[in-house]
């Protein structure tokens, strides 16, 4: 698949591959998304706004130029902004493919990083030359202002032009806790939300700190996604219970939504509102408890996003889908085309959410 190279969230020619529960395919314009949702269905989006998580600066001890990409945090608590995990690169920028980026200078615990107006200390090395835990100096307000003023959105070589925050915030973006955009949500605009409302299709959100999608290092990439904190509002929990009670579908807009909901469901039955940290990876082994269908970007086989799709359909269907996406010229990456995948109809076992509906 070719990468989408211009940062347009809703290009008119965006495509949507719809895969239904029987494994049948339909190719559609993505602008028609609402036509594939049904009355009483619930669309759940990730309303995280994207941080400008790329911070350039200097490694004080060596004087070397570095780029720090914030990649993880412990919680979404407003004042928990001192400590982050981060990927560190040497000199260079997003024009160089991530795989070809220079390593940072050797980093040691206690090293100082000067990042524009911000200063940070290396708190811990995390078993890889690019992966550290850091701690910013200063007050939460000062740290937030420093990141807001100095940071740039993380971006990759397939989009050459520098991204602005408005390129990567979805129209429902709220708290800035995502390190890369929850890009499945780019499909949303307020006209679509009004259409959903008019057709009796529910809309709800959760907030999930979507992490970075590529580190440029195969060993590190294999560990993605890192642990991601999320918060699930009571109103969304209530809407999910109502949806399943009515026998309608919960449709996750983006893999981060699926990850958060299924993690929350693995902790408490019925689902409970509140904060959590998604630690599990979804895949072929996952028994989906909440999510009935997923809307996602198109992803290359081998990526963690692609592996997640195996929770929804059998590998045979996925292979046919990969072939169909390639054959029909679907574009990949965050500004690319989309798929809507309904969980394969399970012939024997009773569906997971039949039991949830009773519990709710």
């Amino acid at each position: 698949m070719n990468a989408a190279t211009t940062p347009s969230q809703r290009p008119r020619d965006a495509k949507l591959l719809v895969i239904d529960a029987q494994g049948r395919f339909e190719h559609a314009w993505r602008a028609r998304l609402a036509d594939f949702l049904r009355t009483d269905d619930l669309l759940v989006a990730n309303d995280a706004a994207t941080l400008p998580a790329s911070l350039t600066g200097v490694h004080e001890r060596s004087g070397a130029t570095i780029e720090v990409r914030l990649a993880g945090r412990r919680s979404l608590a407003a004042d928990d902004v001192q400590e982050f995990s981060a990927i560190v690169f040497g000199a260079g920028d997003h024009h160089t493919r991530t795989e070809a980026r220079a390593l940072p200078p050797p980093l040691h615990r206690g090293d100082t990083l000067r990042l524009g107006p911000l200063r940070a200390q290396v708190l811990r090395l995390l078993d890889h030359p690019r992966l550290i835990a850091l701690r910013f100096e200063g007050t939460p307000d000062g740290i937030r202002a420093g990141i807001a003023r100095h940071g740039r959105p993380i971006q990759y070589a397939h989009v050459p032009q520098p991204l602005a925050l408005w390129d990567v915030w979805t129209t429902v973006a709220a708290r800035p806790v995502a390190f890369e955009p929850p890009s499945a949500g780019f499909v949303l605009d307020w006209r679509l939300l009004a259409t959903l409302q008019a057709r009796g299709i529910g809309f709800a959100t959760l907030t999930h700190a979507a992490g970075i999608s590529s580190t440029g290092d195969a060993a590190l990439d294999a560990r993605l996604p890192f642990d991601e904190p999320y918060e699930l509002p009571a109103s969304t929990v209530h809407a999910i219970a109502q949806t399943h009670k009515r026998g309608a579908r919960v449709i996750a807009l983006g893999t981060t939504v699926a990850r958060a909901l299924e993690h929350a469901a693995s902790l408490h039955r019925p689902l409970q509102a509140g904060a959590g940290v998604a630690t599990e990876r979804l895949g072929a082994h996952t028994r989906l408890r909440i999510v009935d269908a997923l809307i996602s970007g198109t992803h290359e086989p081998g990526s963690s996003h692609h592996a997640l799709l195996r929770a929804f359909v059998e590998d045979g269907v996925l292979r046919r889908a990969d072939a169909a996406l390639a054959q029909h010229g679907y574009r990949t990456h965050e500004f690319g085309d989309s798929v809507l995948i309904e969980r394969a109809a399970a012939p024997a076992a009773p569906s997971a959410h039949t039991r949830d509906a009773v519990a709710a």
């Binding site: 309303d47 706004a49 941080l51 400008p52 608590a77 407003a78 902004v81 939460p140 307000d141 937030r144 202002a145 807001a148 003023r149 602005a164 925050l165 408005w166 915030w169 979805t170 129209t171 429902v172 973006a173 709220a174 708290r175 800035p176 806790v177 307020w190 939300l193 009004a194 409302q197 709800a204 959100t205 907030t207 509002p233 009571a234 109103s235 969304t236």
Partner: protein, 243 residues
């Protein structure tokens, strides 16, 4: 004032509001920051001058001062991001920052295009952009059963045509109408937008516009702030009852 007392009582029943105010270091904006801070709401305020922002934030511990210029496109997301991050969401957005246009006030025929554009940037386009960037947070608040209200600080000059007030007046008229369209379009999502005319106040801006006005004839900004909150609180109580 009776209504203020009543609504102070009602206010304590609700959780603290998460409020953002532009133009928060002087005049009505500062009075609102002080009033909301005093009653325990979570307040973030925006203003252009870093020193004044820092001083105001220091004098009102717990408030979040954000340096930024609403008229500058490149500041919109810088500001919005800090508001959402500091408050963890947003219930009430008060567009108070305002530009007079040419000072001293000028007849339209003597007004430079650039002065009109500057007034429109601060009084119309800037708040439009900031509302747009904060709409996700406001709508999330509404979905969670919290208030989601945007206040456009208006003026009688938005309605009446006063000679010499052209740039300000035209931008304020457009701003007031912008709020009415927003309200039509967003009501279905639980986000409400209202205009509020505080009247002639004893503020630095009024002194710029009418240098020889007698301050004794002007309303204290603190009084206008109380009047606005006396509108907002019962509005929120009604929304809660209706839900």
């Amino acid at each position: 004032m009776k209504s203020a007392t009543m609504n102070k009582t009602a206010r304590t029943l609700n959780p603290p509001l998460r409020v953002a105010i532009t133009g928060g270091t002087s005049g009505l904006g500062l009075a609102l920051v002080k009033a909301l801070h005093a009653r325990g709401d979570q307040v973030a305020f925006v203003a252009r001058d870093a020193e004044r922002v820092a001083r105001t934030a220091r004098s009102l511990p717990g408030t979040h001062g954000i340096r930024g210029d609403v008229a500058d496109k490149h500041d919109t997301h810088v500001i919005a991001q800090q508001i959402n991050a500091a408050l963890g969401g947003l219930d009430l957005l008060i567009h108070n920052a305002s530009s007079l246009g040419p000072v001293p006030l000028a007849l339209l025929a003597d007004t430079d295009c650039e002065d009109l554009e500057a007034a429109l940037a601060t009084n119309l386009v800037g708040p439009f952009r900031l509302t747009k960037a904060l709409l996700g947070a406001l709508a999330a608040s509404a979905r969670e059963g919290r208030p989601a209200l945007v206040v456009h600080i208006s003026s009688d000059a938005a309605v009446n045509a006063y000679a010499g007030w052209g740039a300000y007046s035209a931008s304020k008229a457009a701003f007031l109408h912008l709020g009415r369209i927003w309200d039509e379009e967003l009501r279905g999502h639980g986000v409400h937008v209202i205009g509020f005319d505080p009247g002639d106040m004893d503020t630095p801006m009024h002194a710029q516009a009418v240098p020889d006005a007698d301050p004794a004839t002007l309303k204290a900004p603190a009084q206008a702030a109380r009047e606005l909150l006396a509108l907002v609180d019962p509005w929120w109580a009604r929304q809660t009852e209706a839900a």
